[in-house]
Symmetry: C2
Subunit: 523 residues, 2 copies
């Protein structure tokens, strides 16, 4: 416990040694107890029983606009509204919904997005005006910055994709109204993301919301005749359908093409990751991997491909976020399946729409820690990024070294369950070392991070004696993480001064089991 | 209330005028209140929260045999075990499970099949031995007969497919252990019905069980490498996987070919149904229909087809039970989609596996009355059978005129929600009139039955003044149902004597909203 009088009654030190609030937004919390230590009790959330009596027999659930839908949903002060980031920075719906709420004079909402993006920065005005009380969900860019300024009326709560579903399913977060932006939908509410002018691929991040929210509104700019197939969201879980001119900006929903990094340093990292997989024996017929859509991850796949061809092997599955790069693997027979949570470019959207081996998944199948298992722990290797990693392999993915909250967790925490988690990152950014003594915000416990690959060297977690033994004697530039840290500090000219932070909690980072892993402190 | 002293405290007369027990197997019941009168309260069933901690990280949930799985599931006296009829009369798994329970010395189970078939008649021995206390679910043939003999230790409960999901979802029936026979599955429990040597098409009838049962066991004879795609059943809802040599007899799982009736009388009925759709204006571009896999229904489609081609129109969707006949409609562009609950022959199984416009549905999407609407009320015309229909258009589909329970409800009750429900049936069977004064067992309220088509005449429900007006002046042989009844009685030589029945309830028929519609009396 801290000796600071103001902190004493409200903060506890968790199993990771982090000071975390015991109550968040009025709800008592379980502090992180260690990986695999917390055991949930009780039963899942139980939504109200509905009756077909209250829904039109002809299936036509359309209402003229979002305001009408919110009104029918019984919108009132203090409710929780959820939205989803399938349309990424191109989304128009979530902001439109919140601005509609403002016009309706309703206040103090909890906004529960699966993630928020820079284009949603106007929500800051809605927070200042008291329309939005606080945000629970990933905050990328300006909204995160606003949060770390300590300006939100409530505390931010950051969850992984799996953690968000866990929280909904377990009843930690009750959603009053879920609004689902759908690139195609029918009047009954069946909705699909893989077709339509605003196609984004999967709508998997909205699945839990559609099942557990009291009221569900589908907003589409491509109303198709019944039935909308495939129905990634089932109309029998939907209350109202609203047709609008546009749900978003297609150019920002998916990038037309995916950019592989051209930076020589980052290409070097990508190549080292591929070589590590080969030398460590992870690269074998029927293996599986997950890599994101970042430049390093994409380049990694390009290095992996010739190795696979040369060895005459194919993956049993790769996990998306999918891009053209993964689609090509599928088309060339180098993987049997893409199990995809999110589609990042037009090639991937088309592939999901057309290829039955490109399968849309949801966080229930892939990530939810409170299910009967999930896919994440079955993946042979995950290649992830981070903003910082410390000498105990603890990693940060949400804040920068200056303490500012600028990124969401995404599926990152969930992916740490893979058989070999590799953080692939540059040794420094803007002359700030990425390997540090202690991460600013703990997002992933070090015991789950197996390998750090930078352009200068590869550091293997000492717990992974098996990996250390396998790569011994290879040409890989393996070194101790403390040595690596020292080398980086030499290049950068020492350790930068620690950023000052207040003792006020701006947000908390939840672990995949719903416990509180760390605090993001107001700057 | 009955004046019979023994009945007085236990039976009430419901809104349909039927005497029904107020308590069934110890559970208080709501008597049928009229169509659309009962309004459910409360919340859905809430299954226990699980944790990935308790499931193998490598995803391998296999156990060596069914007994090991039942043991791990904590099988004990008095539990409820569910199974499914996807493999129809060819299923080996459900009986194997119950016989395993017997060997394990466990007693007094409630067996909760989605339907039971003649090949499962050995369950009678298990009921005599006290292993199975009673059956809740459709009982086709010998098990139904046994039930009507009043020999089950508990009361049978008959539900429609939609009603079964409603009961599970609403917590009326708590399933301790669901056993799902799967034509293909992976070690994680992802399961699919459309592939494998025992392919049966959809596994939709097991979906609610997989979501709400405490424990879920997948039994397969085709273990495929992870991932089993499509995953009609999601592995994240599955506890254990058991591989067996055979889950069933392929010849009885699906018929190799579907038989269209050759009976001139039944062909006449089929033709009249098609003509009625044309004359009534229901047959128009973008219309929809559901017809079963019976001989009359199949022949009806064959009559409809040339009419559609001639008029240059296509259906927007047809609902399965699917057969070669519907698959041909899809292939010929005469319907855009088959929305399928059940696949009856090899052509249909293949079509579902290969054609993305042949879509597997579940009773959640199609039938559940306690959802936010369902597909059933959006269907323009449903062509159904019945064992009896009375002069008020009330229909019976479960018992014969001798009172014996020989058939399940299937989706029949749910289909009554369609815009035009047509019962297509022979005027008499074995010289017993099908049109009667009062049905033996009320399975469908007359206000939902719109048209009766027999080989002799068509009777339209007087409530449907719109239909009566439309067909007026046509060449269709329209007549009053009482006239039709009289005519049939003349042919059959009068009204057969009413079968005697006891005052003991052998089973109850639930309505789609969970209320008790009628009683099946022990003979």
């Amino acid at each position: 416990m801290s000796s600071h009088p103001k902190l004493a009654p409200e903060f506890v030190r968790n199993a990771a040694g982090r000071l975390v609030p015991s109550v968040v937004n009025g709800v008592p919390q379980v502090p992180f107890m260690g990986v695999g230590k917390y055991r949930p009790e009780g039963r899942k959330a139980a939504p109200p029983i509905r009756t077909a009596l209250d829904y039109p027999a002809n299936g036509d659930k359309r209402l003229p606009n979002i305001e009408a839908a919110l009104r029918k949903c019984g919108l009132r002060d203090g409710m929780t509204i959820s939205s989803h980031h399938h349309l990424r920075d191109g989304d128009h719906v979530a902001l439109d919904v919140l601005q509609t709420v403002a016009r309706m004079g309703v206040k103090n909402l909890r906004w529960f997005p699966s993630a928020s993006f820079p284009s949603q920065a106007p929500v800051i005005e809605l927070m200042k005006a008291g329309v939005v009380h606080h945000i629970e969900g990933s905050m990328n860019g300006p909204l995160g910055d606003y949060c770390t300024q300590g300006q939100m009326a409530g505390m931010g709560v950051l969850r992984s994709h799996g953690g968000r579903f866990q929280a909904i399913q377990d009843g930690e977060v009750h959603i009053d109204i879920a609004v689902i932006a759908a690139p195609s939908a029918d009047m009954f509410g069946n909705a699909d993301g893989s077709h339509g002018k605003s196609a984004c691929g999967s709508l998997g991040f909205a699945l839990a919301d559609s099942m557990y929210a009291d009221r569900v509104v589908v907003v589409t700019d491509d109303l198709v005749p019944f039935p909308c197939v495939p129905w990634q969201i089932q109309g029998n879980n939907v209350d109202y359908v609203v047709e609008v001119a546009s749900i978003g900006d297609p150019a920002k929903i998916v990038s037309g093409t995916t950019q592989i990094t051209r930076s020589p340093d980052r290409l070097r990292i990508s190549e080292l990751v591929a070589q590590f997989l080969k030398v460590s024996g992870i690269l074998r017929d029927g293996f599986s991997f997950q890599a994101g859509a970042g430049g390093i991850a994409l380049a990694f796949v390009q290095y992996l491909k010739p190795m696979m061809k040369e060895a005459g092997i194919a993956a049993s599955f790769v996990r998306g976020g999918s891009t053209k790069v993964l689609v090509e693997l599928l088309q060339e027979g180098l993987t049997k399946y893409i199990l995809d949570g999110q589609t990042f470019d037009l090639d991937a959207v088309r592939s999901m729409a057309e290829n039955p081996h490109h399968v849309a998944t949801s966080p229930f199948t892939s990530y939810n820690y409170h299910g009967k298992g999930n896919f994440a722990s079955m993946v042979d290797a995950c290649i992830l990024g981070a903003t910082e990693v410390d000498v105990n392999f603890n990693a940060n993915v949400v804040t920068h070294s200056d303490g500012r909250l600028l990124h969401g967790i995404g599926g990152w925490q969930n992916c740490l369950a893979s058989r070999c988690t590799i953080l692939a990152l540059p040794a420094f950014r803007d002359r700030i070392p990425v390997v540090v003594d202690e991460v600013t915000t703990l997002t992933g416990p070090g015991e789950l991070v197996d390998v750090i690959v930078t352009e200068r060297a590869i550091a293997i977690n000492p717990r992974r004696t098996d990996l250390l033994a396998t790569v011994k004697g290879s040409k890989l530039p393996i070194c101790d993480i403390r040595e690596l840290k020292k080398e980086i500090e030499m290049i950068c000219g020492g350790i930068p001064e620690k950023a000052k932070r207040s003792d006020r909690a701006a947000a908390v980072v939840k672990w995949v089991d719903g416990t509180v892993l760390d605090t993001v402190w107001a700057t």
